[in-house]
C-alpha cells in the first residue's frame, strides 16, 4: 500500500495555504467590487461585470498564458515588479496567488453581488433615516444581511482554488514547495504511471472536499434558520 509521502504532504500543505491566502484576498477585493456592481448606475458597469466574469468562460491556459506574458520580465507588470525590486512573479508562490485570485474572482463576486442585490435599497434607506452613515450602514445592515452570500463566496472561492490546474501549470510550473500544488502532483503521479499514489491523493481530496462542504452546509442550515 502506498501512503502519502513527504512530497505529497508538502503539496497538500501548499495547496491549502494557496487556497486560504487567495480566499482571504478575494474577500477583500470582491466585497467592494460586488457592492459597486450591485449599486452603481454607471454606464460602464456592464463592462466591468463582463470583465469580472471572463474567467468563467476562458480556458485556464489562456488566462495563465497572458498572466505569464504580462508578469514576465518583458511584460508591463513584470517591469513594474522589477523596478520595485520584487523580481518577477511567474514561478513563485506570489504569482500563483495573483493567478488564483483573478481566476476565482467571479466565484467570489457573483454570490456577493446577488446577496447585496437581494437586500435591496430599503434596509439601507431605513438605516440612513436612523442616522447611520454610509460605512455604518454597510457594517451594521448590509454585512449581516449578506452573510449567506459570504458563506457561498468563501466555499466557492476556496474550492475553486484548490482544484485549479491550468493556470498553475502555465504560470507556476512544477517547483516543489513553491508552486507544486495538489493538482499538479496528481498529474505527475499519473504521468509516472503511479496510479496508486494518484488514487490516494485524489481520493483524499474527494473525501476532504465532501467533509468541508457537509460541515459548512450543516452549519449553514443552522445559520439560515437563525436568520428567519
Amino acid at each position: 500500500m502506498h501512503i502519502l509521502d513527504p512530497d505529497d504532504l508538502q503539496a497538500v500543505w501548499l495547496t491549502l495555504k494557496l487556497a486560504s491566502v487567495a480566499t482571504l484576498l478575494l474577500l477583500l477585493i470582491a466585497t467592494p467590487l460586488a457592492w459597486w456592481l450591485a449599486h452603481s448606475r454607471k454606464w460602464y458597469r456592464s463592462i466591468v461585470a463582463a470583465l469580472v466574469a471572463l474567467p468563467l468562460v476562458l480556458p485556464p491556459t489562456v488566462l495563465g498564458f497572458y498572466l505569464l506574458v504580462l508578469m514576465g520580465p518583458q511584460g508591463p507588470v513584470g517591469e513594474l515588479t522589477q523596478a520595485l525590486h520584487l523580481g518577477t512573479l511567474p514561478f513563485t508562490f506570489a504569482g500563483l496567488v495573483v493567478g488564483s485570485v483573478l481566476f476565482s474572482l467571479p466565484f467570489a463576486v457573483q454570490p456577493l453581488r446577488n446577496a447585496f442585490e437581494a437586500i435591496g435599497r430599503r434596509p439601507l434607506e431605513v438605516a440612513a433615516t436612523l442616522r447611520a452613515g454610509a460605512w455604518d450602514r454597510f457594517v451594521s445592515v448590509a454585512l449581516p444581511l449578506a452573510r449567506p452570500g459570504f458563506f457561498t463566496a468563501i466555499i466557492l472561492a476556496f474550492a475553486h482554488t484548490v482544484g485549479e490546474f491550468g493556470v498553475v501549470l502555465m504560470l507556476g510550473g512544477n517547483i516543489p514547495g513553491e508552486t507544486r500544488v495538489l493538482s499538479v502532483t496528481i498529474y505527475n503521479h499519473v504521468e509516472a504511471m503511479e496510479y496508486g499514489a494518484a488514487n490516494w491523493l485524489a481520493g483524499s481530496m474527494v473525501l476532504f472536499s465532501f467533509v468541508v462542504l457537509l460541515g459548512l452546509y450543516l452549519a449553514g442550515g443552522k445559520f439560515a434558520r437563525v436568520m428567519q
Binding site: P123, E125, A128, T129, L130, R131, A132, Q228
Partner: protein, 362 residues
C-alpha cells in the same frame, strides 16, 4: 420676515424620473399633521423622499429656518434630524425587536435624546412587544408600531410618514389608528403624512397639501380645503366636511354625547371624553340633506341652520352644495339636481342641514 428663516416647512422640488415629473412647492406649519394627499402616482411618496433626502431632486428645503437643501447644499439623509416611517415596517430581520427600537437611539448623542424610551413605549403600547426577540413573529400592526417608535426615538424635529397604514389589513389599521391619534395630540413636532385615503386624512390631519400629477394643486387648513368645491377632494365618493367641537353633555339614558361648536349642537354616540375636550367629527356629503324649513317629526337628531355658499354640478344627476354653519364651519351635501330645482336652492339661501350620520374621528 425672511421667508427662509421663518418657522415651518418650505419645500420646492423639481425631479424627472423616467416619464414622471415632480414639480412641487408647498409650505406647511411647524406643528400638527400635514397630509400630502392625492391619487396613486401623484408624486406624494416621491415628494416625501425628496424631503428626507432619499431622492435627490433639484430645489430647496427649509425646516424651521434650517436649510436642508438649496443650490449650494445637500444635507445627507443621516445628518437630517428626521424620523421616517415607511409603508412597510421594514424592521431589520437580523436584529431583535429591542435592537430595532434602539438602532437610531444609539446613533444620536445622549445630549440630543429628548424622547425617552419609556415615553415612546407608553404612547405606542410597546411594553409587551419589546421583549419578543424575533421581529418576524410580530403582527403587521405590531411591527409598524415598533417602526414608528424606532423613528421617534431619534428625537426627530420632523416626522415623515409614508402611508404607514396602507400595507395593513383593516383590523391592524383599526388597532393602530388610536396610537396615531395619540401621537397627534402628544407630539410637538410637525408631521408630514402621505395618504391616499380620505378617511385617514380627515381623522389625523390639520393641514392638507393636495397633489395631482406631480404638482401641488392646493394647500391649506384641513376643513377649509376639504370643503372647496373646485378641488377633486369634494367630488370623491366619501367627500365630506370636518367639524371640531367640544364635549358638552353626556346623555346616559340614550347613550349619547352632545358636542357644541359655533354652528350649534351635534348629538353623537356617547364618547368617553371629559367635558370641554375638543373632538373631531366628520360629516359625509352623502349623509347630509337639505330642507328649506325647519323639519318637524323627523328621526334625524342633528339639524343645523346653514347658509348656502356654492352649488356645483356633479355628473348628470347630482349636485354638491357647500354651506357655512356658525362662524366659519363648513358642511358639504350631495343631493340630486332635481331636489335643487324643486327647492330652488341657490347661493346665499338660509336652509336647514340634516345630518343622518356624524362620525366621530377622535
Amino acid at each position: 420676515m425672511n421667508p427662509v428663516n421663518a418657522p415651518g416647512i418650505r419645500a420646492d422640488f423639481k425631479l424627472q424620473l423616467d416619464s414622471f415629473v415632480l414639480d412641487a412647492a408647498f409650505s406647511a406649519p411647524d406643528a400638527g399633521v400635514t397630509a400630502l394627499f392625492g391619487p396613486s402616482g401623484s408624486g406624494k411618496t416621491t415628494l416625501l423622499r425628496c424631503i428626507a433626502g432619499l431622492e435627490r431632486a433639484a430645489g430647496s428645503l427649509h425646516i424651521n429656518g434650517e436649510t436642508w437643501q438649496d443650490a449650494a447644499r445637500f444635507v445627507p439623509v443621516h445628518q437630517r434630524p428626521l424620523g421616517y416611517v415607511f409603508q412597510e415596517a421594514s424592521l431589520f430581520p437580523h436584529l431583535s425587536v429591542r435592537a430595532n427600537l434602539e438602532y437610531g437611539l444609539k446613533r444620536i448623542p445622549p445630549s440630543e435624546r429628548k424622547v425617552p424610551l419609556e415615553q415612546v413605549m407608553e404612547w405606542l403600547g410597546l411594553s409587551r412587544l419589546i421583549g419578543r426577540g424575533d421581529p418576524a413573529k410580530l403582527s403587521g400592526g405590531e411591527r409598524q408600531r415598533i417602526a414608528i417608535g424606532r423613528a421617534l426615538l431619534t428625537s426627530p424635529r420632523i416626522l415623515l410618514m409614508d402611508e404607514p397604514l396602507a400595507a395593513l389589513d383593516t383590523g391592524s389599521k383599526q388597532e393602530i389608528l388610536p396610537y396615531l391619534e395619540r401621537l397627534h395630540r402628544e407630539l410637538n413636532i410637525p408631521v408630514l403624512y402621505v395618504s391616499h385615503a380620505l378617511d385617514e386624512v380627515a381623522r389625523l390631519a390639520d393641514h392638507l397639501v393636495l397633489l395631482e400629477q406631480g404638482r401641488v394643486i392646493a394647500s391649506g387648513a384641513l376643513n377649509e380645503t376639504l370643503a372647496r368645491l373646485d378641488l377633486p377632494t369634494a367630488h370623491l365618493d366619501d367627500a365630506g366636511a370636518v367639524i371640531e367641537a367640544a364635549v358638552a353633555q353626556h346623555d346616559e339614558k340614550y347613550h349619547l354625547t352632545r358636542l357644541d361648536f359655533s354652528g350649534g349642537q351635534l348629538w353623537v354616540g356617547k364618547v368617553d371624553r371629559p367635558f370641554g375636550s375638543v373632538v373631531r367629527a366628520r360629516v359625509l356629503a352623502r349623509d347630509v340633506s337639505i330642507a328649506t324649513q325647519q323639519p318637524h317629526g323627523t328621526s334625524i337628531n342633528n339639524v343645523l341652520k346653514a347658509r348656502i355658499d356654492e352649488i356645483r354640478d356633479e355628473g348628470p344627476d347630482k349636485v354638491i352644495v357647500r354651506m357655512t354653519v356658525g362662524d366659519a364651519d363648513r358642511l358639504l351635501s350631495r343631493i340630486t339636481r332635481r331636489s335643487r330645482d324643486h327647492l330652488g336652492l341657490a347661493a346665499g339661501m338660509e336652509v336647514f342641514a340634516q345630518m343622518k350620520s356624524v362620525v366621530l374621528t377622535t
